[in-house]
């Protein structure tokens, strides 16, 4: 018992929902006609491709191919997020790759083996959607954490120097910066755990219920995925900070220049 398929006609109906947005765009002179159309068009094309290759990946369900697919997803996520953020690619590429791979893969295997109890740990049906959810979240928080860390260091750097001057070692002097970075990264998920279920149904649950799962099953998955995302986010930021901090200071414990790319660039 799955969700009813959507016919091509049905999909056209869905796309027609773009019309009101274009009318509003015209009415309020938002100047977003091209943006809205391009975004919708790109979404359709990108998802069509995903649908196409997921069709084969699910059909083959080969553990090796599934794993490679996950690795490619991680790499694309890393590159695109570093490109979007204001940090220096050269310094951060390896740390971010490691800090994304290690928690994602570890938690994914933990999830599939211990929580769901799968025998095939690399089953596409679990590996790809769960991996995708962990990845998307972990990348976002990693970037938030690092931007907060380096942004703070460049605006409140004197606070770091003050602590060093009074005799703190580097880690001690960085404590307020590390703390605020970890909090910035964990706060969004903490907030969503606090309110989940009160306001809206999370996307994963919606999907599972439409797919024919019992609400009880969907809820158990939701609990498991939330805590897994939380754990992989925190691990990711912690590993990133551990890896990037030593690269960000010289032998005199002074912050190196050029780590943050300026906002105007």
């Amino acid at each position: 018992m799955g969700a009813s398929d959507i016919t091509i006609i049905g999909l056209i109906w869905a796309l027609l929902l773009l019309v009101p947005t274009l009318i509003i765009n015209y009415y309020f002179k938002l100047g977003q006609l091209k943006t809205y159309i391009v975004a919708t068009f790109r979404m359709v094309i990108q998802l069509a491709f995903v649908g196409l290759y997921l069709h084969y990946i699910f059909q083959w369900n080969n553990p090796f191919i599934n794993f490679i697919y996950l690795v490619v997803m991680i790499l694309i996520a890393v590159f695109s997020s570093i490109k979007q953020s204001k940090i220096d690619m050269k310094t951060f590429l390896m740390p971010v790759i490691i800090a994304t791979f290690v928690p994602t893969i570890t938690i994914l295997i933990y999830f599939n083996y211990l929580i769901v109890g799968l025998t095939d740990l690399f089953d596409a049906k679990y590996l790809i959607p769960i991996g995708g959810m962990l990845l998307g979240n972990s990348m976002k928080t990693n970037i938030i954490g690092m931007e907060r860390f380096y942004g703070n260091l460049s605006t409140n750097g004197s606070e770091y120097l003050t602590r060093i001057a009074y005799g703190a070692d580097r880690n001690r002097a960085l404590h307020p910066f590390i703390k605020s970075s970890m909090l910035a990264a964990s706060n969004p998920l903490v907030a969503s755990m606090l309110t989940i279920g009160l306001v809206s149904l999370p996307g994963m649950m919606t999907g599972q219920i439409l797919g024919g799962s019992l609400p009880a099953t969907a809820i158990k998955y939701q609990i498991a995925i939330m805590i897994s995302i939380f754990c992989s986010n925190i691990l990711g930021v912690a590993i990133t900070l551990k890896l990037v901090i030593p690269k960000s200071f010289d032998q005199y414990d002074m912050p190196k220049k050029g780590i943050m790319i300026s906002k105007n660039k």
Binding site: T162, A165, Y166, G167, D169, Y252, D253, M254
Partner: protein, 205 residues
């Protein structure tokens, strides 16, 4: 503890801030740098503290060449009171608790009572403990940072414009206390008041 500079130069972005500077301070000696604004007074103190690395020349502290392997050790032998006199955020109380929890300072257990005793000498009261460090006036910060130098009792003091915001009474108080200290002291200041006390020598450009 001795400080010695040999042909120290510092250039940044093609601009020569300090050029071929040499001098030495014997243990316990006190010197004032009274160069005009923008001629590298603050930079010089930063160079000695190891916050900035000289482009040319050598800095010796206690007869050892200051470098990356000993800079962390020597920083703990120096108190650097800078122009903005930054203190960790929070109340003065929290700020002091934090400073004296650093491994380099935790041997000073009775810091609260020492600070309390010194407050009156610089015309401050213990009310200051409840204030937020960001709300302190420039003069309050300067005096508090100076007290910290005394409590930390490190062998070298680097004092950057420590008297600039103070009234005459407070100025002469601090000058007297610096003159009486056993420390090796390097002061950057425009104040002529330092010239009135013969404990200080002057380093010329």
């Amino acid at each position: 503890m001795e400080i010695r500079l040999e042909d120290v130069g510092y250039t940044i972005d093609g601009q020569e801030i300090i050029r071929n500077l040499s001098f030495s301070l014997k243990s316990g000696q006190k010197a004032v740098i009274a160069w005009p604004s923008g001629t590298g007074k603050t930079t010089l103190l930063k160079l000695i503290f190891g916050f900035t690395i000289p482009t040319t020349g050598k800095i010796f502290i206690d007869n050892q060449l200051l470098n990356h392997s000993n800079v962390k050790h020597f920083r703990k032998q120096m108190s650097y009171a800078n122009q903005v006199a930054d203190l960790p955020k929070g109340t003065v109380q929290n700020s002091m608790d934090e400073i004296f929890s650093f491994p380099a300072n935790e041997h000073i257990r009775d810091y609260k009572s020492i600070i309390n005793n010194l407050l009156s000498e610089v015309k401050l009261t213990s009310e200051i403990f409840g204030k937020n460090t960001e709300e302190l006036s420039g003069g309050e910060r300067q005096r508090l940072t100076f007290i910290l130098c005394q409590v930390l009792n490190r062998p070298i003091w680097l004092l950057d414009e420590i008297t600039s915001g103070l009234d005459t009474d407070n100025k002469s108080n601090i000058v007297r206390m610096v003159a009486e200290a056993s420390q090796t002291v390097l002061i950057s200041s425009h104040d002529t008041i330092w010239r009135e006390n013969n404990a200080f020598t002057f380093i010329n450009l």
